[in-house]
Symmetry: C2
Subunit: 772 residues, 2 copies
């Protein structure tokens, strides 16, 4: 058994000199250039026209709401950024400088994650009105250009900060970089998870709440300025789809790098500490090319053509450059790398350059395949969405059923693709150690990363276009061709959002799998240090009943997390409904325009509720690995991680694709099929879309950071869990974790359940609006 | 590693003499007595009055439809019962008599499974009208008595046939019993899976189809004789909830016994081949007591009181008798059993009697805990259902969302309970081998089994009461107190059905976990025989990327299976809707009673469609383990099984409890809350209930046999997968399996999608009914 394993080499084995030192410095430099380029894009966006005064005043309201939300969110998260670094200091490490470095870079990771989200959103709430203004005066292509440039800033910040942080850790800590990187990744993942969950609850509470009263009860269209929830809805697009998403992809980026560097240094020594930085550096360069390639051309049929061009150009250029870099940088044989290939000539692939290129290409191919598959299951002109559209003729129940079955099925194919990528990477390492195979998985992850710059740009494009349409609608100042241009952009945005989610979950799975490998190395190292022998006690065999129980618990956490997130949206949306109904009741003049709705309270409700509601799922992610690791042991903790990865992959894709398919089935009906707008079929698809909202924008995407937070917590506590295995201290730690968790879940249940109990608590809101 | 494992002892190590021979013969005798008792109950039920002529003619229609369905289903399944025994002959075994025995007992298991389903249903379609007649003339208690006696027959057949089959195998094959039992369990599980899926599709296609046109479009109540789908709906209750369910629980019973006997003989030698038969024999005796204890008494508040009394009386008596049996039969130390407790005094529990009693009690406690938990999440007077009811005030979307989040959350607690039971059993085996720990899991399963007789009686009660109400409604001959009595019985039936599903999934998980252990032993044995050394190649470590991929695939199959089952119901229901609309259009006199609807065509559609639709999920269950085992290898196959168990547990409970909660939320509104019948809230909960129908009655319960079929296939192919590991023959087998699977999935997609495409194919049905 032990012959199969490469122990993680600590400090002295790794050093950064000569060419390697220069290379890492170059990587850091390129990362800074990416940030500079982002600054250039910001100037370009801000210099565009802001449109009419009415448009600007609406944009200002959205900006204020979004800024207020983020401010309160950062204040809420501050406690974690203070407490967790202190707790991290308690965990063992090589020496104190490394301990301090880990805590310090936790703060850096958390800060970068927040900053990426903040910058992305800061510009999005400024870009939106400019996109609307450009559509009004200069047409679709000019509007699209600004929208995509706005997204480009988020993209550049994601890759720039992620790469810069990782490169600095490698430069400063070299041999101890893995431990410090754990802190960096954990900070990034934790903040991103909170931003994803909080933003997701905000955006869908506002959206669902606005729709339930506005569209369903009052019969006014989306983004109607008479709806008191409409500003909150637009704020939500930004805090959820911009800030939350950008933080999430930053975190994916950082964590994949962390995993690749940890495993790379264990498998390839110093080479493994440098090569995983070179691949994403190439990605930064090609992202810039990709963003320029998106400039719409005369021959483009739709906006999607330009975006696809950007994606594929950057992917192909990345592939070519990675091949060049691998053959230039890496040695030609595993022996030169000092890799123990199990002492045999059994390696399927004897050349580490081929190995590395193969792994990175697997990631690139996976990105393209996911893009195609997601498109198939969520685009309006393909069979699955068409079938959901058809089922609308027999009512909402069949819409829900067909959407759920489409989602379940698509999850399977995505899981097979991702599983195929992992298996392919595993085959590349055939004959070598598990660490080598897992390094291949992590390298495939870095292959995916090379497209992240373009992906984030694409994704941020979505909410910016959505908001631009909202501002245009509310102000009433954009009409005719301009309005049509914004509608087209919004449709493109829906597709890019679905694709991004597919890529994000693929990244998450590869990162989590690689981190899982790091966890394994950590447990083994600790056992060797503390017990002297790992063979007897370390057994992640799934045939061990305790590991199997850990597996079930891990899968269960994914279900619970999803359930809690969906429930949170339902609860918060209920409060929004009550507030909106109250305003319509107390200000009967809103509907005929003689009174103005008050947008502030709904924004406040969404802010307050989403920040309160994110606590339970957040603590669930942090505390369950602790509870499992100290109560059941480190072997079940391994099973726990595997169960979470398997269930998380399927659940995330299921939720994202069901939601995306329902959204587009609604659009299909609105385009005039099956009776068109206002028909019963339309009402049925609106119900499907509303069900899909928290699926695709709250619970589904939050599973990505969840997987990584849980893996990182497990990785961080691994040595401690080994030290206190089946001891009183260990059980005490588990007891505290479980007590806090149970307490929080009960507290969250007490926060008030459905609508009716809230109405009972707020007696002046018990009747429905009487003004219609 | 190898010190931890007890190799399965083959033939010569086990023999049945003296006391043991007598004991097994007694078990077989008691099993036959159970069947005799069932015959006595049949006479009692058949001697009751059949009510009015109109009631009898309706009952006859239901009887004919149900018999026709089962006849066609058995004809469809015949091909499997012919082909699979031949294929099984190809698999290696000790000698030819054992090979033939395995194939023979495959047929016996399949036949018993079918017979249990058939008998349960045969009497249910005769009991229903007698229950209605008793309610009409003698009141609720008499009606309940007949309903529960009818269920008792299914219960007695389940336990009687299961126990008799297993005891005969042990008597005849003794040392080779494990191999033959694999055949017996596989036959039982395969037929049960087909009956569960087919019956589930039938019943929900009819139910959903009847509701969509009847309730929603025409506004006529459930079971209205004017609805052409109403007989099919009642037939469905019998083929799904009676025949399918009884076959499923028979299979659970048989497979738990199979797993317990395989592991028991490996862990405890001959003792382990006898004790797992004694525990369920006790269950047979206590089931008879339980069935008599259900006789309603004067002081009972509701029908549920009597049923609870039956359940708990039989559980407590079982516990007491098991303690007695263990202390009387088993030796006082592991040394006497010849068990290698790892050569140390490290066993946590040194007394095998305490070990055995502890394990059985874990099962009994689990049964009671699941009953309470399921009740909490699905009863109308508890918080979760109330919250779903409240959410109906904001429309169908919030009903769906809250039901889904309730289901997801409840799945977690159920999984924790089941996981806790597995972990508890594992702790009992601390210090011993994995086989010992897994035997404890299997014994916990036999503990659950002691309640199965009562459980099946309870569950069959549900559809009988439901049908009785249907017959009463359609005939119009039962009014006043009689009708109220039947409504009450129907409500009790809903609760018992939900509880049964909880128990069934718990049994399935324990059985699958134990079978998984048997798989492990089989692989290890084959490796030792064929390669001479298992240590190097056998590694179910979840940190191996290929095992992790297997895990993901296993979890994915559960998602795909669920998606396919839900989709099948949607498709078949669509065809029912078209037929019903056509009848209303062509016979406008149906609504005012001047024309009669034709019930036959809908029954035909449901029969044909459900039999066609069950092929894809059925082949998925059989072929995916083959594909994984031969393509990826036997280690990933282990991961596959674990992934399926973890995801299957959660998915099954999620689907069952969401569905159950929606059903009761609808009842809550119908009882006058949130606006009552006919309100918008009611319409919203009807949508929830319709979505829940295929969740709780098709996809959810079919996951139980799915898990066991996949585990049994893996167990059967284990030696072959080892022999052809990474060989051309192995890859060829995998290729055939994958090709068939892909072909069937594509074929199933081609079967026509949603309603609209079917309408296009059937142009005279393109308009909606014009008669309203």
């Amino acid at each position: 058994m032990s012959g199969l394993i490469l122990a993680a080499e600590s400090g002295p084995g790794l050093n950064l000199e000569g060419q390697n030192l220069v290379l890492v410095a170059v990587v850091a430099g390129v990362a800074l250039l990416a940030l500079l380029f982002a600054g250039y894009l910001v100037r370009e966006v801000l210099s565009a026209s802001q449109g009419t005064e009415k448009m600007q005043s609406i944009a200002t309201a959205v900006q204020e709401g979004a800024a207020a939300y983020l401010k309160r969110q950062f204040r809420t998260l501050a406690i974690f950024v203070v407490v967790i670094p202190l707790l991290l200091l308690l965990l063992p490490a090589e020496d104190w400088p490394v301990r301090i470095g880990r805590s310090l870079f936790f703060v850096v990771g958390a800060g970068f994650s927040a900053l990426t989200g903040f910058i992305g959103m800061w510009l999005a709430v400024r870009g939106n009105v400019r996109v609307a203004a450009a559509a009004r005066s200069d047409g679709e292509k000019a509007a699209m250009r600004i929208a995509f440039r706005t997204g480009g800033v988020a993209g550049m910040f994601t890759v720039g900060l992620g790469l810069f942080g990782a490169a600095v850790v490698v430069l400063v800590y070299t041999g101890n970089a893995p431990v410090v990187l754990e802190g960096f990744g954990f900070g990034a993942a934790l903040v991103a998870m909170f931003m994803r969950v909080g933003g997701g609850i905000f955006t869908k509470a506002a959206d669902v709440g606005a729709d339930l009263v506005g569209k369903v009860e009052q019969g006014i269209p989306e983004d109607d300025p008479r709806n008191p929830a409409t500003i909150a809805d637009n704020v939500g697009d930004n805090v959820g789809d911009c800030a939350g998403m950008a933080a999430d992809l930053f975190e994916s980026y950082a964590v994949v790098l962390v995993a690749a560097l940890i495993l790379g240094s264990a498998a390839f020594g110093t080479y493994g500490l440098v090569f995983p930085l070179i691949v994403p550096m190439i990605g930064v360069i090609t992202a810039v090319i990709g963003i320029y390639a998106v400039s719409p051309r005369a021959g483009d049929r739709t906006g999607m053509s330009a975006i696809n061009r950007g994606f594929f150009v950057s992917a192909v250029v990345s592939a070519v450059l990675v091949v060049g870099a691998a053959f230039w940088y890496l040695p030609a044989s595993f022996e030169e790398l000092g890799v123990d290939t199990d002492g045999s000539a059994g390696m399927l692939i004897g050349d580490p350059r081929v190995f590395a290129v193969g792994a990175v290409l697997i990631g690139l191919v996976l990105a393209a395949a996911i893009q195609l598959l997601t498109g198939y299951f969520t685009e309006t002109n393909r069979r699955p969405v068409k079938e959901i559209g058809e089922s609308s003729e027999t009512g909402a129940a069949t819409v829900i059923l067909s959407g759920i079955s489409v989602g379940l099925e698509s999850a399977v194919y995505s899981a097979l693709l991702i599983g195929g990528a992992v298996f392919g990477a595993f085959l590349l390492g055939t004959g070598g150690s598990i660490t080598l195979a897992l390094f291949a998985v992590a390298l495939a992850g870095t292959g995916l990363l090379t497209t992240v710059g373009v992906i984030v740009s694409m994704d941020t494009f979505g909410p910016v276009a959505d908001n631009a349409q909202g501002i245009a609608e509310m102000s009433g100042d954009v009409e005719g061709a301009g309005a049509q241009a914004l509608t087209n952009l919004d449709a493109v945005g829906n597709t890019t959002k679905a694709i991004t989610k597919g890529i994000a979950i693929a990244t998450a799975v590869l990162a989590a799998t690689a981190l899982f490998g790091a966890f394994r190395t950590a447990v083994e190292g600790s056992l060797a240090d503390q017990v002297g022998d790992a063979a007897g006690t370390f057994n992640l065999g799934i045939d061990q009943p305790d590991v199997l129980v850990g597996l079930m618990v891990g899968a269960a956490v994914v279900f619970l997390f999803s359930g809690l997130a969906i429930m949170a949206v339902g609860r918060a949306a209920g409060r929004v409904v009550l507030e909106v109904r109250k305003q319509f009741r107390l200000k009967p003049g809103i509907m005929d325009g003689t009174e103005k709705p008050d947008y502030g309270p709904v924004v406040d409700i969404c802010t307050r509720d989403s920040l309160r509601e994110l606590i339970t799922p957040g603590l669930l992610a942090v505390l369950t690995p602790i509870a499992v690791g100290f109560l059941l042991g480190f072997n079940p903790l391994g099973g726990f991680l595997a169960g979470a990865i398997a269930a998380g992959t399927l659940m995330a894709v299921f939720l994202a694709n069901s939601g995306g398919a329902w959204d587009n089935a609604k659009k299909l009906v609105e385009d005039g099929h099956h009776g068109g707008k206002g028909s019963e079929a339309h009402a049925a698809t609106v119900i499907g879309d509303t069900v899909g909202d928290p699926f695709k924008d709250t619970a589904g995407p939050a599973i990505n950071p969840l997987l990584k937070v849980m893996n990182l917590v497990a990785l961080l506590i691994a040595p401690t869990a080994v030290a206190y295995h089946q001891s009183a201290v260990g059980y005490a730690i588990a007891a505290v974790a479980i007590a806090v968790l149970v307490g929080v879940i009960i507290w969250s249940k007490r926060q008030g359940g459905g609508i009716a109990s809230q109405q009972a608590a707020e007696p002046d809101a018990t009747e429905k609006v009487a003004t219609t």
